[in-house]
């Protein structure tokens, strides 16, 4: 009797489930047709596409477009078997009407250079991101040579000018980040870690300037920074570090075939997590700001424009914070990994 009842409630529940699923499907399909009608309506006029606009802003390019139509041409450096090394300006790829044209058999389409005859081309061009790496590096050289001159001139006296601006930051990184995580032998790694911090910090701040490149939000740039961490960690690894990976202490013998690959993957996941974290936080910050800006153009309304301006201002202030914190986090994790590698024993 009770079994029958159970069966009945079960079939009842099944029925309700089926009905719910059907309702959901009907809703979805009706929405789909509605959407399609709406989409076809929009596509008749040349609509504003926020996706294309954002992609254009966060991706690398062969010319530096400061505002709409004002493009600084950058050098294109190509190598291919038939022509050898070629260097020319990226403005050759566009005619006076800003249309894409072929130059000496090369064609630039969607920021990808190809040969008309289909042979492979190696592209070593100074792109927008490479230019910003140079700008970042030259700003760092200017500032830190001035700071170093200050230390020579004011030896034993209070810091002056730009020196007193950067001294607290340098001291903070040294005393709060590098020293506690690496330990006694920290001075060997301090120059690299300070360079890393200031390179990422200045890069993040440069990326927030309107018209500038999304340099630290490029996965190739962050990959190279993470590779630096990977090589320094593994080349300075002491006996304790390697024995921890290959012969983890206190593990039963039957667990070793599982632990060993896990530890080996762990060696790789550390730099990969650094790479992805910096890339995502900077790129997504740009995407959020640009999406909020494009709301104005989606709604065609000055009131939305006013609102999005307020929100974008607030988000940009948060981005200033994020720029600093991400540089700090990258430096902190790098010094933690180095600290783990150089630890003698615990």
């Amino acid at each position: 009797m009770s079994g029958e009842k159970k069966n009945m409630t079960k079939s009842g529940a099944f029925k309700i489930c089926k009905e719910l699923i059907m309702c959901g499907l009907i809703c979805l399909f009706s929405m789909s047709s509605l959407q399609q009608a709406y989409a076809s309506d929009v596509s008749e006029g040349e609509g504003f596409n926020p996706g294309d606009m954002i992609n254009h802003h966060i991706k690398d390019a062969h010319g530096w477009e400061i505002t709409h139509g004002v493009v600084v041409p950058l050098p294109i450096i190509l190598y291919s078997e038939p022509d050898g090394l070629m260097i020319f300006s990226s403005s050759n790829f566009f005619n006076n009407a800003h249309e894409e044209v072929a130059y000496k058999g090369y064609l630039l389409s969607h920021e990808y250079i190809s040969r008309a005859d289909g042979q492979p081309v190696y592209d070593f061009s100074i792109t927008k991101n490479v230019l910003f790496i140079f700008i970042d590096a030259s700003i760092m050289l200017l500032i830190f040579f001035a700071v170093a001159r200050g230390y020579k001139k004011n030896a034993g006296k209070a810091p002056k000018g730009i020196q007193s601006l950067f001294e607290p930051v340098i001291i903070y990184i040294r005393d709060e980040v590098v020293k506690p995580s690496i330990g006694d032998n920290y001075q060997k790694y301090l120059p690299y870690l300070l360079t890393l911090f200031f390179f990422i910090w200045f890069g993040n701040l440069l990326g927030l300037i309107p018209g500038a490149a999304n340099m630290t939000g490029n996965i190739a740039v962050t990959a190279v920074l993470a590779l630096g961490t990977f090589f320094i960690t593994n080349f300075s690894g002491k006996k304790a570090y390697w024995s921890h990976i290959f012969w983890t202490p206190g593990v039963p013998w039957w667990l070793r075939p599982i632990i060993l690959p896990v530890e080996l993957i762990g060696v790789l996941t550390k730099p990969v997590s650094l790479m992805v974290r910096l890339f995502v936080s900077i790129t997504a910050g740009h995407i959020v700001v640009l999406s909020l800006v494009s709301l104005t153009f989606i709604f065609h309304s000055w009131m939305v424009g006013f609102g999005s301006t307020v929100i974008v201002t607030l988000i940009t202030i948060i981005e200033l914070l994020v720029a600093t914190i991400q540089a700090y986090v990258f430096t902190m994790f790098t010094s933690l990994y180095i600290g783990m590698a150089v630890e003698e024993h615990h």
Binding site: A39, N49, G51, V288, L321, V322, V329
Partner: protein, 85 residues
Amino acid sequence: MLLSMLMDMQFAVMGAGIGAGLVAIGAGIGIGQIGGSAMEAMARQPEAFGKIQTAMLVIAALVEVIALFGVVVCFLIYTAGTAAA
């Protein structure tokens, strides 16, 4: 019918929106817990205010990155969806 539904990229755009919402819930819970614990810790030890605040901001940034993963994935789905439509 089911296949045509699966091939419809507009549903992908819808899914991107739902996914962004779910990620925001997760990140909200995470940042809320960090902020709550930090407030408690500051109330207990006001002299450690600076240290707790720094640690809080760093951990909040780590959680925020998870939310930003959602933003990037949704943006990729959106661009793929609008390119296919």
